[in-house]
Structures are given as C-alpha cells and as structure tokens.
Amino acid sequence: MPFIPHTEQEVKEMLAVIGATSVDQLFDEIPASLRVKDLPPVPPQLTEMELSRLMRARAAKDVSALNFMGAGAYEHHIPAAVWDITSRGEFMTAYTPYQAEASQGTLQLLYEYQTMIASLMSLDVSNASMYDGGSSLAEAILMAARTHRKNKTHRILMPATVHPLYRDVVKTIVSQQDIEIVEVPFDLNTGKITIDALEKISKENITALVIPQPNFFGMLEDVDTLTDWAHAHQALVIGLVNPLAMALLKPPGQWGKNGADIACGEGQPLGVPLASGGPYYGFLCCKQEYVRQLPGRIVGRTVDQQGKQGFVLTLQAREQHIRRAKATSNICTNQGLLVTASTIHMSLLGPKGLRKVALACHQNGCALKEKLNTVQGVRCVFPGYFFHEILVEFKKPVETILTELAQHHIQAGFSVKKYYPELGNALLICVTETKTPNDLDQFVSQLERACLN
C-alpha cells in the first residue's frame, strides 16, 4: 500500500506487543453496524507513473498562451528561486510554529514578512496572513466592528467599485453577525466613487469605509479626500489594495491627514502563481493601537534564556485555541507557505525592483489603452488615472470576443456583464510586465479581427 512502510512480520510483532490477534480487533469498540464494507465509487489505486500520465493529459487541456485576465488574480514573473526554496521540505512540510525553538526558520521569516508588508502599507503592524483577499476584507470589517466600541450596531460603507466576488465573500461571512453592508454607488462616467455619493447616505452608526486602490475597474480612487471624509464622520478607514501597486502608489498609511486605519487585500501578485485560483493569501495590517484586535497569528521577537535573539508566536490569548468563543476569529491554519514565497519574492525584487515592476505594468497599461483607442468597435470606458486594468466596451457580444480569441489561445479578459449590467457589453482587460510590445500588437490585431467578423 502506498506510503505504508510495514512488513507482514512487523505487523505480527506489533500485534503481539499490543495483545491483539488482528488489526481488525483494534476496531472492536466501534459498533459493527457502522463498519463500512466497501467504497464502490472510489477508483482503484494508481502508481505514481500512472498518476503522472493521467494528470499530464488533463493539465494539457488547460494550457493557454497569452493571458490578459486580471480581476483579482495577476500574472507576474516569479523568479525561479522563489519556489525552489519554498518547496524545500523544511518549509513545505513544517507544521505551525507552536514549538518555537524548533521553528526559528519559519518564525524569523514571518517576522521579516510582517516587517515588509507593514512597511509596504505604511502601517505599524501586520499579522502572519489570512486565507485570501476576500476573506481578509471580511476579517478587516469584523475587526473594525470590534474596535469601534461606541457604535451599538455597525454599518459598513462598501463602494460598488470593490471586487464583486470580494463583496460576495464579505456578505457570506459578515451576515452571520449584526453588521450591515451599505453599498456606495459609483459614478458611471468616471468609474470611481464620489463624496457626493457618500453624503447621500445616512451617517448613523457608520463604523468603517472601505476604499479600494486600485478599484475593480483598475481606476485610482481619490483616497485622500475619501479618508478625511470617513475620519470626519468618526468612521474607520479600511484600505483594500493591490500590494504590488503600493510600491508605486501612495500606500494606505499615508492617505489623508491621519492615514487609513486598516489595510488588507490579496497577496497573490507578490510571488504566487495563478494556480487555478489558489492557494493565495490575504494580508492584514493596522495601526499600533488596534494590534490586539488583529485576528490570526502574529510573530514577535524576543530572547532566549541566554539572551540570544529568537522569535515566537505572540498575543496568542486572542486566538481560538485559548480564547475559544471570545476569540478575535476562528482562524487556525493560515496560508504560511504562500507568505514564505512572497517574502522571498519581495526580497529578490527589493523596493526599487518592485517599483519598476509596477511601473512596467502601468506603462504597458497606458500603451495598450492607446492601441485600443484605435480599434473600431471598441471603447475604453473610463477616462482618468488607472493601474494595469482597463474596462473596454464592445459593440459585439463579449462572449463572442472571448470565444474567438480563446481559439487563438488568448484569454482576452473578464466579462463584467453579470456583475455590472449597467455597463453593458464590457470586458475587464489586464496587462502586466510580462507582455512585450509584440504581445500587445498580436492581442490588439486579434481583437480587431474578432470585432470585424
């Protein structure tokens, strides 16, 4: 049997020590009526060779050549060293670092990660990760509700320019408690939210305003004005950001007069492959004064008996294994391995390298927009400043465009029809540093062809 090392002889010896006559006898406490006889739907076992063959055939069906899809998951160059080191058994098959002395590798790495991501957000502290961007937003909202003691009930202002799938996740998680999500409509001309729209909403019991940057359409929101508005109304500010973009754009901790209070989002752009949707990781950072309300694991630096520097999980009394029903969250397992990859990735690129990657994405975005503006039957919907994603309206149905380009092994973008019917026949197109001018030309000419047919 795979992965079971026992020989028949050893089984005999072990049973003798136990004092049982068969392995079956070890299950004698289980009522016979519950014992399973067979598992018909489970297929017969494969060798690794057979498994490889099967999976290669399946993976071959999913290969694509050029990818222009973003919408929350982004294709970037990941240096080979990142996953080479992350895949080391010492990182990959390690457990949660509860025995700190035996886990100094993981713990020091997490401390370095916390430092890097907090600084990237220009905030004071970070935790050691959440499951993904959507759930980190949900946890940020729960955190704001816990922190904002004055309000008896909580209303969270959620721009409609926040990723629709994130809003779905938030709804699922937050609706189990007494928290109301209030949608803030966006301006159909600019693709951004405005102070006017905020002013129209009742100010009672507003606990927090979520500000995406860039927003789902790739547009850059007026983060300073929005932050100051929220603070003037005693609401906390939750910045929902693309971490790569923060190497180039003003980060949440520097928004407005006092900075955002909490920053969260999807860490995938930093060293995590698309991988069919996961695993990714969510980051969550905040100002020092809120640190005790941060959910999830947190690593702290300390010393050992001999005064030598070391790292431990700290503030554990907030977590489920101690606080149980009163914990800040029920989270136990997080996304440690992805954080490992991200930390190595951020280390390889460094602050200036990361900024160059962001710039390359932005420049490619501007170049693509220029080219798209020359194509018949295509309209870039929103004017104004954007980061690496463009909403494009087509005269032809987007389903046709997508299918035609798929036949040329190009993933043209993400159709927003289902989530924003008011925007009509529109596609969200993303371009990162991975695309050459040749790639852009090829893409645009295929789009042209598809529009003409």
Binding site: R292, Q316, A317, R318, I322, R323, K326
Partner: protein, 130 residues
C-alpha cells in the same frame, strides 16, 4: 505552595477579592487566580462611569497561555481604574491584593450578595483542586 487569602477581604466564587472602604469598593483577583494564570502580559479594564450588573463581564486579564474574564462581584458604577497595570501588568502577580488592584466602583446596593468569607473561599479552592 499555599496562596494567601487575607481574612479582611471578601471573595467571589470566580476568584475576585473585594475590599470595602466607606462608599467605594476595590476589586482585584486572588493570589490563587494569578498563580493559575501565570505571568500576566496584558490587562483590559472597563471605562470609568460604566455601570455593571452582578456577574457581568467587565475586564480581561491575559497571560501567555490564557485569557480570563473578570465577573463583576458587586453591582455598581466604575469610579477608578488602575492605570499602572497597562505598563506593568506583572503588578497583579507580584502584589495581587495591594498594587495589583484592578478597579474601584461605587456600589448600587449597601448589602452584597453571594460573597464568600476567607475561609469559605479557601474551602472552595481546595475542592476545585480535585
């Protein structure tokens, strides 16, 4: 190790001690409680002017391995909190009946229900040990 249980104080079943000085009552946690918790790392105290009912959760004492809720043993209004505990939570371990006091309140009633004498509390702790 025998934990001290001063005779001059009253106690609750949930390991708080109570000292009355005229119209103000001081509350803390017992030597036994601080011993069970281990070195305290953080104390969360109620806001001044908060009104508390009997048994209401009003504070949290946190060690590395546990976080315990404090249940208000005497209904009343908070008039003072021990702010020195924010920087030095270990005062609760070092001097639980003196410098480690948690908060003071003005009681709503003149008689206190359900409080234990030092002997009764000692007996309760002994029975819990089994």
């Amino acid at each position: 190790m025998t934990n001290s249980v001063p005779k001059t104080l009253k106690y609750s079943k949930t390991h708080e001690w109570i000292r009355q000085d005229e119209d103000v009552v001081t509350i803390g946690i017992t030597d036994h409680a601080q011993c069970m918790l281990g070195d305290l790392v953080y104390v969360e105290l109620p806001h001044i002017e908060t009104s508390l009912e009997l048994g209401q959760e009003c504070a949290v004492v946190e060690s590395v391995k546990a976080a315990a809720d404090i249940y208000c043993p005497v209904p009343g209004e908070i008039v003072e909190i021990n702010e020195s505990l924010f920087d030095s939570p270990q005062l609760v371990n070092e001097d639980p009946y003196g410098k480690g006091w948690l908060f003071r309140l003005r009681p709503f009633e003149s008689t206190f229900r359900e409080l234990l004498s030092a002997d009764e509390y000692t007996k309760q702790v002994a029975s819990e040990a089994h």
